[in-house]
Symmetry: C2
Subunit: 717 residues, 2 copies
Amino acid sequence: MVRKIKAIRLILLLLALALSLPNMAQLKHFTLEDVIPGGENYKNLQPENMTLLWWGNQLVKVKETACYVYGRNGQWTTLFSLDDVKAQCSDVKSLETVSFTGTAPVALLANSKMYLGYNWKEKKIVFLKKLKSGVSDIDYSAPSQMLAYNFKDNLYVESLIQDKVIKISDDGSRDIVYGQSVHRNEFGINKGTFWSPDGSMLCFYRMDQSMVPDYPLVDISTRMATLQPIKYPMAGTESHKVSVGIFNVQTGKTVWLQTGDNTDQYYSGITWGPDSRKIYMYNLNRDQNHLRLWQFDAATGALEKVLYEETHPKYIQPEHGLLFLPWDSDKFVYWSEKDGYDHLYLYSLAEERTMKKITDSQIGVVVDVLGFNPKTKSVIVNSTGVSPIQHNIFKVSLEKNESTLLGDATGVHKGTLSPDGAMLVDTWSSPDVPRQIDIINTANGKSVNLLKADNPWKSYAVPDISSGTIKAADGRTDLYYRLVKPVGFDAQKKYPAVVYVYGGPSTRLVEASYGYMYRGWELYMAEKGYVVFVLDNRGSNERGLEFENVTFRQLGKEEMKDQVKGVEFLKSLSYVDGNRIGVHGWSYGGFMTTNLMLTYPDIFKVGVAGGPVIDWSYYEIMYGERYMDTPQSNQQGYDDSNLRLRAGALKGRLLVIFGYNDPVCVPQHTLSFIRACEDAGTHPDLFTYPGDEHNMFGRDRVHLHEHITQYFEDFLK
Amino acid sequence: MVRKIKAIRLILLLLALALSLPNMAQLKHFTLEDVIPGGENYKNLQPENMTLLWWGNQLVKVKETACYVYGRNGQWTTLFSLDDVKAQCSDVKSLETVSFTGTAPVALLANSKMYLGYNWKEKKIVFLKKLKSGVSDIDYSAPSQMLAYNFKDNLYVESLIQDKVIKISDDGSRDIVYGQSVHRNEFGINKGTFWSPDGSMLCFYRMDQSMVPDYPLVDISTRMATLQPIKYPMAGTESHKVSVGIFNVQTGKTVWLQTGDNTDQYYSGITWGPDSRKIYMYNLNRDQNHLRLWQFDAATGALEKVLYEETHPKYIQPEHGLLFLPWDSDKFVYWSEKDGYDHLYLYSLAEERTMKKITDSQIGVVVDVLGFNPKTKSVIVNSTGVSPIQHNIFKVSLEKNESTLLGDATGVHKGTLSPDGAMLVDTWSSPDVPRQIDIINTANGKSVNLLKADNPWKSYAVPDISSGTIKAADGRTDLYYRLVKPVGFDAQKKYPAVVYVYGGPSTRLVEASYGYMYRGWELYMAEKGYVVFVLDNRGSNERGLEFENVTFRQLGKEEMKDQVKGVEFLKSLSYVDGNRIGVHGWSYGGFMTTNLMLTYPDIFKVGVAGGPVIDWSYYEIMYGERYMDTPQSNQQGYDDSNLRLRAGALKGRLLVIFGYNDPVCVPQHTLSFIRACEDAGTHPDLFTYPGDEHNMFGRDRVHLHEHITQYFEDFLK
């Protein structure tokens, strides 16, 4: 049943290494300061990295004090130094934020206070714009040398080279939001302004959220605590309304996309046509099961065509805009899960409504599109073609429908492509490769190594980390796990085990990257004598639609069945003490943890749930209704997953932790659960981080993991 | 050093009793349902009681279904029954809320929905007034048969016998409060309207709190959590302003007491002259160290005289209005701590500014004035004359300056006097007397017993509860303690011990009432094998001014020194395990608990702090500045007592619990402490009761004590 894929025998490796080192006993023990982001020694234990950018088709390495360009001979030559820039503008303290657009020898150095363009060939400043305090959502257009930004709730464009500021909106407020991300960052949306390719027009979101009530968060850090209200649209309630405007910089006029009634509609995937004359956009209904791809005239806002439609009995999740072919503005690549897996399709505007599938099943699921190579007429994609827990880069020929692997066949890769598509920077790791960066010729696949990171753990006692698969509760689907054994493992002993869980959509925790995507806390727990087990249940990411949407209208149910299969596997290991099984997770994982503690009280003895969803009717419309529909239309599903209604079933020890200022899983989740337990006569434990939001960062993250660990030490050990 | 006063050997008593009972082993064990208010069996374990009221000078016993009058022969005769009333008004469901005013055969039956007067001789309804929903702060005047009340923020009077409603104010709001208690119930204030003795005029408070900011409490029980703001004046900030109006029912006009500028002034002790023509009132400055007794003309509001002034270098705490002699309207009794102890003084309006002390040191400190006996020209007081931990009733002759004990010389008594002062109902208990009610002739001291409650614990295994004194940290002051030994005590064993602490002003925890004022939880902890120890440190109540105000400008400091003396005593007991000392307290006791954990980390291993003050600058102006002055004028004192600043000193296990909707010690106290611990890298534990305020009642109180007990079981046992 259990197929063991691979195991990192780092301990053996280190033992071998130890022959040349003084003594195994001198290996260091991980502390939370070593393994938790925010810990004092955390950065020192990360594999070496390199910041690489494309300046035109030339590769640039960025360091704090200088930028270097990569030569044909494989040498790095200084492009310019921080001192060069400082000679022109002493306000610049580091080159770490540098970026390039186009091929001009101009470095853009921007921060929240200023926008600076520096020409290193002429050693002079091209532009320098100081930004007003309070400016946000800055969007830069290279062709027009203009910025768009939000200031005091309204939208502005400002020239970097002229003394020209235009206020685009007048009625901006907390209720009317301009030029910012909408729909709570769902549907792949992460910004609110979109410059046309030629920089002549700015497409922007306007969101009316006057009908959305405030959730009353409280800031306790002021002299007297103060209200910190946030607009929060809860599932089943009235939602915000979004419009899309096009501002013409030349005429100073705005037209609006003629979408029709925008009640209960989502607009995403905004894409400019290559000629800056058309706008393409997705429209998804509130039920999220009917998608339309629209084409608008950018000059008038008129809806010209419905290019394509998709429907699905469960839901559709459009997350990517269109990608026009650089060599043919009639055609774009459309990214869709419509055949059950993320694949790419070629759409021709001339031949309306026809789609040609580009990627085939050899590609697995597409996780990223890096760009095109016009010479070879190919698209470069990142996908799970090699293994469901790997990401590898493929060149897919659009003409021949042929895919070729680029780079190493193991591990998890991330790529950035040069503008001409000829060269690829490939940053990757695999279970026993901490990090490697290669530069690859996409035409012939030839590769040169730029970085091989050293083993960052070499002076530490490292646990055994392995991965494998078990069968899901459906009896047929393979699920991937990561298993971390205690440091100094002794197969004759019985160890307590902690299941770390997320379990929600769009995420996975086990992949074939360094240490199988280990979390630092697992190393620490292994140090403390725990087995840690992580399983990606059905409902998680990158395994196709059916795998993911089995949870539809019943979040938690199938996911938990799979986690129980994981525990059965754990208990089958001779060295795991089946009476000491704990569980920990955050956010969706907090929901899973609480749910598992209530549903399987005889399996899980101790749980730590962070920022949990307790009642999906307290969660936001966009994410929540995708998976659960509305409380009105799915009362049963909402009741079945409402953990308040099962508060009386708590038997083990459960610690619930939340960020006191969490705007994502608002405190009402945790607090209403605590209240329900009080009413039911059960006794969870509680902790909070005032001032923190959905997650803890910096020193708080270290403190949090001390707190979590202590709870298992108190009650599971 | 340790003087043992007395010990209840209840176990021995029960053992003796057990000879006639089947077996000691069959004695029941206390559960939290037995001993915590709100527990299912709590009421059954309370000593029997009797509701007694004075109807004129006749004693009436109230039961749910009938009222009985006490005859000279010692027999109870039915006065009227619930059925009699129901025959006239079927809305009346119980007689439990009955009250009498004057000598007419009229029973007042009032609840939040109606006011009913029932004449039992004529078997008819005298008046029946249905109240509007939302009416609050109802104040009844018997002479005028009128009600005063607040409705939708404004003040009204309404006749019970006529169809007459008068709206007195127009500008009432959240900011402008009419006819309600002011100054946050400090200075003995608990209501906002004061009818003149003849019922012709209504004196009332008006409070402008527009300058007081809102503390943002949050109600999480609504569909989406909603803001529940409360006006909260924090120490050192701008305070509300109070005025006092006199409304004349006949003319319909209001005059205002001419107090002058009411910025930073307190007004309390409002007393009508017996002829309804004068108003007497205290004026205390914000610094609370200068008290004036003012006389006003009720018709015009003019300030006529300053009758008396008191100053003190620390603070003055006026808590009682004037008591005019029934037989001489020129004289009133003034209650003051000015000689260092609560005593009574006779003031003659004719001989201005002279005071004759009535009560002497034999009386100890006066804790209550029950009234006067005009025949014997005496005042009946309750005081600590017999012992600092007793309350006994004395008749004090105003002419002969002689005091006579009335009733039993042991225990803690509570009395209600008949209007003519001839008869006294004396309800009392002592360490081994659960409850007794006697009726006493105040002229000759003769007493008849009305009730002797049975031992409510007779079928339970009861711990040994004793009391004694130790010396305070000043080396000279006696402090009283209560010591509860584990059930099944074995002097050879070593037990963990929990100190229960309050420690703040105006309260004491040890008195010679039943079980030395035991708290039910102590019986339960004794059952679980803990020693429980309670000590009234310096700063607590009824021991005189110097004992109390030693804490001035440095709350916590001296109190903790005394508690450490208590622990030294505990540790001197052979059966106490000095390495397992816990501490628990609520409110001021939560402040003490947290402070003790941080200040004496090597003494206290485990603490549970409830609703604690963490920073006195977060506490309200009235109570806080009395003891601490303002943060501006006492920075050192505020810093020294600011527990946030010592969050890093936490070493043991500390659980902090708070009511999520606590309007007294607002959540900012606890939450800012948690935040400070997180910043300092220490690890308190936390719990909250959403919807609960400063204390938990009903089922939540049972849950709370389960939670508290579990914490000691987890970490102290």
